[in-house]
């Protein structure tokens, strides 16, 4: 047998990185297409807002950020859930299961992919907001932007992995992701404040990652300090989704 290199921790890290590389190679075309779509979405929404209210820059900014959040949500959810679902349903996961890599490394690679998508969409969005003159994120706010984008990508990727493991077939994944994205967009105040939601929908709004991502993105765009409540809620959603994902993964792969 050819000897393996490094200690267990080094091998786990290497497995995570090589799985991520494999994932990026598999998904390169669809990733670029989806990211492009997610940036086109706020441009379309912003254009509509401009036509409706040509002089109110606040409305245009809010709509652009809302579009960006929905775009990010769709990108991370769709890409991650499809990557997992196709691996699981088309035999790729069985092939990966023959490798000396842990389930944690597999999930970590997909969550990292989600974080990368979050950063990519947020970065493109920040460039779009600057070019369109709606807002200019200062260099000082860059660490905040990176942190929020990464946390957003992580929380959405956790939900994506859970959908990918739970869904019984690839066609269902498509329906589930589209429906989940729509429901999240409806119950989340991404184009208007949370207070505008009917009182019975507000608790559901708090459970949606979109609500917190939109609020935090708005804080960054308007150069306000980040809301600790939304930050904590987003972190809690990520932790809850990660826990459910691990449970679902174990059940899904040991059936």
């Amino acid at each position: 047998m050819i000897a393996a290199t490094g200690n267990r921790a080094a091998r786990s890290t290497a497995a995570w990185l090589y799985l991520l590389l494999l994932l990026l190679r598999k998904e390169v075309t669809s990733t670029l297409a989806t990211v492009a779509n997610s940036v086109l979405l706020p441009i379309c929404i912003c254009y509509s807002a401009f036509m409706v209210s040509p002089t109110n820059i606040d409305v245009q900014r809010t709509w652009a950020i809302g579009g960006l959040v929905v775009g990010m949500g769709m990108t991370c959810l769709t890409q991650v859930s499809f990557a997992v679902a196709t691996d699981r349903l088309r035999g790729g996961m069985r092939l990966i299961a023959t490798l000396p890599v842990s389930a944690r490394a597999y999930i970590a690679s997909h969550l990292t992919y989600g974080v990368m998508l979050g950063l990519l969409v947020a970065g493109s969005g920040a460039v779009f907001l600057r070019i369109s003159g709606l807002t200019a994120v200062s260099w000082d706010a860059l660490p905040q932007l990176i942190f929020v984008a990464a946390l957003s990508g992580l929380s959405l990727a956790c939900i994506g992995v859970a959908i990918g493991i739970w869904t019984p077939d690839v066609a269902t994944a498509d329906t589930v992701v589209s429906s989940a994205g729509l429901v999240l967009a409806i119950v989340s105040p991404v184009f208007y404040p949370l207070s505008a939601l009917p009182s019975y929908l507000r608790p559901i709004g708090w459970l949606s990652p979109y609500t917190h991502i939109a609020s935090l993105a708005s804080d960054i765009a308007n150069a306000r300090p980040l809301s600790l409540a939304h930050l904590s809620a987003l972190a809690a959603i990520a932790a809850g989704a990660l826990f459910s994902t691990m449970l679902l993964y174990r059940r899904g792969t040991t059936r």
């Binding site: 490094g6 598999k26 023959t98 000396p100």
Partner: protein
């Protein structure tokens, strides 16, 4: 290195699905280096479930599996480093080329960077993949994809090979190439578990045969002993008439004398009496002796 430990040891292995269905039932066997156990049995007999427990994908309900003395379910990653596996329903990533698969899997199997090119080159040669290296896996035929899966299993030069129907869908030439590679691995002292429905494959490769039926390993022995289980049984094959496009009927008899009496009774002009084939044993073990009598060869 725990070289004195048996590569594979299963004791009273039972697996029940949540509904209570027994997929494997009190399976016990062990294999030494150089053993090639071929698991035979009808569809749904529990062969793949048994394989899944050996590789640690399913935890047995009761009983234990030990790979070099270790539980494959506990430190799965470490144990799998010593195994090369071809799962029955695994498939390649359609848009990735064969060479990308090989390089990625060499890295994921933990092969040192400097050793990877040699390891990849070795399996390309052994599995005859040279012509298809740049092709996306999705454009390969089913048989070619199985060859690539076989190459991936051999990458880290593992001590144990678990091959779940490795030649299904391969043409006769490709199948013989796989047989040669498996035989080479056996000669090099690898421990191999193979499931197949091709009895010729089992006869050519295996030195041990296991018959799985209803989740239980009803017979497990060296190939010769396996034949001996048929006692003095012989097969009588009627020679078809000249010009006939039909194959001759096959009859399994308990003794040569009984076969000759049968031939006299039916006034057979031309026939042959010989040793029973593995297929005859298979059919008898599967509990279908009756249809053999008078069955077409």
């Amino acid at each position: 290195m725990k070289t004195s430990l048996k590569p594979i040891e299963c004791r009273n292995l039972t697996f029940r699905y949540r509904g209570g269905t027994r997929a494997t039932d009190d399976v016990t066997f062990s294999l030494c280096s150089g053993d090639l156990l071929c698991l035979l049995g009808p569809n749904g007999a529990g062969k793949t479930t048994l394989i899944k427990q050996i590789i640690g994908d399913l935890r047995p309900t009761t009983g234990s599996v030990r790979i070099f003395g270790e539980d494959p379910c506990a430190p799965r990653a470490e144990i799998k480093r010593r195994m090369g596996i071809i799962p029955q329903s695994a498939s390649l990533f359609e848009n990735l080329s064969v060479i990308v698969h090989l390089n990625s899997f060499a890295a994921l199997k933990g092969i040192a960077r400097k050793q990877r090119p040699a390891a990849v080159e070795r399996v390309i040669e052994e599995c005859g993949l040279r012509e298809m290296l740049a092709k996306p896996a999705g454009s390969l035929s089913g048989g070619q994809q199985r060859s690539v899966l076989f190459a991936l299993a051999l990458l880290a030069d593992p001590e144990i090979l678990i091959l779940d129907e490795p030649t299904v869908g391969l043409d006769p030439i490709a199948r013989r190439t796989v047989w040669k590679t498996v035989d080479d691995q056996k000669r090099r002292g690898k421990t191999i578990v193979l499931t197949t429905h091709y009895l010729e494959e089992a006869e050519r490769l295996a030195n041990r045969i296991g018959f799985v039926s209803g989740g239980a390993l009803t017979h497990e022995s060296p190939l010769d002993e396996f034949y001996e289980r048929m006692g003095q049984c012989v097969r009588l094959v009627e020679t078809p008439d000249a010009g006939s496009d039909q194959a001759g009927n096959v009859h399994v008899m308990d003794t040569v004398e009984e076969a000759e009496a049968f031939a006299r009774l039916h006034r057979l002009k031309s026939y042959s009496i010989g040793r029973v084939s593995l297929e005859d044993v298979y059919v008898r073990l599967a509990g279908h002796r009756a249809p053999l009598h008078g069955e077409n060869a």
